[in-house]
């Protein structure tokens, strides 16, 4: 079992700014970032009651299954998925190879506009994730220790979770 994947606060705020602007520029209802394992990263939009936990898990499953199909037919992957509904539509794309960008939009936007705005936002987010990777690699090379929340966790802490 490897050490955890972490999200730095500074880059998290940058990602939030990118998806907030994307939501506005694409006239979207909701923009959501989730990692390929189904963990939520960031979200912005007007769908306040949306169950983002379920959205994250189902999106990751959807992408995983589609990747499986792609490999079966000899493709590397299908980096963009689009679903058209009666009222709302879903645009799913991959960012930085390991993150999924989900956009929910209705008749106030269009697939073309969404795709255009996603292209720019993807480039920005790719840069942010590259910075994260570089930061981590640099700190690992310098031997900087992790200030993990679990470094001093006790069995009592864990038992308390289940009481």
């Amino acid at each position: 079992m490897s050490t955890p994947v972490v999200l730095y606060e500074q880059e998290y705020e940058q990602l939030k700014r990118v998806i907030t602007r994307l939501c506005a520029d694409a006239n979207a209802k909701f923009v959501f970032l989730v990692d390929k394992n189904g963990q939520q990263i960031a979200a912005h939009g007007e769908m306040l009651n949306l169950d983002t936990t379920s959205l994250a898990s189902l999106t990751a499953g959807n992408v995983a299954a589609t990747d499986g199909l792609a490999h079966l037919i000899g493709e590397r992957g299908f980096p963009v998925l689009s679903h058209e509904g009666e009222r709302d539509n879903l645009h799913i794309s991959i960012v930085a190879t390991r993150v999924i960008l989900v956009i929910i939009f209705d008749e106030r936007s269009s697939l073309g506009l969404v795709r255009l705005r996603v292209k720019r936002a993807t480039a920005e987010m790719n840069s942010i994730f590259e910075v994260i990777d570089t930061k981590v690699d640099r700190e690992r090379d310098m031997g900087i220790a992790l200030d993990s929340p679990f470094a001093e966790i006790t069995e009592e802490d864990i038992d308390a979770l289940f009481n």
């Binding site: 955890p4 972490v6 999200l7 189904g38 900087i144 308390a160």
Partner: protein, 210 residues
């Protein structure tokens, strides 16, 4: 905020720590032969957990309620050292021909539960599922010997069961915690979950503090 360290870029990406929102998410997968009780475990956990501690139970199933892709249940266990601790529980489809789907669900796993069917006639299915688990974990770069892991012997209430000692002898892989269960009545369900969750958190301590 002190910058954290990662020793692995994340081909086996797993526990997700968000320092910005102070959340930790861990993934636990329930594995085992078809109709062994994996979904029943999650259903019982969902039915008996307080509303504020759980999300929706998602079940992607066939028309006959056999798991088709996965079940998913997010649990909020509370706060540890200022971090909200969430466990995402998944089950895999147990039927043999859903192997491609099982492989996908295993990705990013932090802890495993093997739900064995104690019935005598299901022994071969248990063994096949266990070897399938090891093979699929290996494909993702995991070693079952190193992954937090618990064995549940389910359906102990049925008349045609193998003894717990024989079942353990046959299925135990590394001296893991073993719990007898009757999942449809909740027997052993939370003991199993607590045991695997504890292993996951202690493993995080080992990796984070080392």
């Amino acid at each position: 905020m002190q910058p954290p360290r990662r020793s692995d870029k994340g081909i086996r990406a797993l526990t997700f720590i968000n320092y910005a929102s102070r959340e930790i998410n861990c993934k636990i997968v329930y594995y085992g032969p078809g109709l062994g009780g994996k979904t029943t475990n999650l259903q019982y956990i969902y039915d008996t957990t307080a509303a504020q501690s759980k999300g929706k139970l998602i079940s992607l199933a066939t028309e006959t309620d056999r798991t088709l892709f996965f079940d998913f249940l997010p649990l909020d266990l509370g706060t540890v050292r200022g971090f909200k601790t969430r466990f995402h529980l998944y089950t895999v489809p147990g039927q043999v021909f859903y192997d491609a789907s099982r492989k996908l669900i295993l990705k990013g796993v932090d802890g495993m539960v093997f739900v064995a069917d104690s019935q005598r006639e299901r022994m071969d299915a248990n063994i096949e599922a266990l070897f399938n688990l090891e093979a699929n974990l290996k494909q993702h770069g995991y070693d079952l010997m190193k992954v937090p892991y618990v064995l549940q012997l389910n359906k102990r209430d049925l008349p045609n069961v193998v003894s717990a000692s024989d079942l353990t002898a046959e299925l135990s892989r590394k001296g893991e915690p073993v719990f007898e269960g009757v999942a449809n009545r909740g027997v052993g369900v939370f003991d199993t979950l607590k045991a695997v969750a504890k292993q996951v958190l202690l493993e995080l301590r080992k990796n984070g503090g080392g």
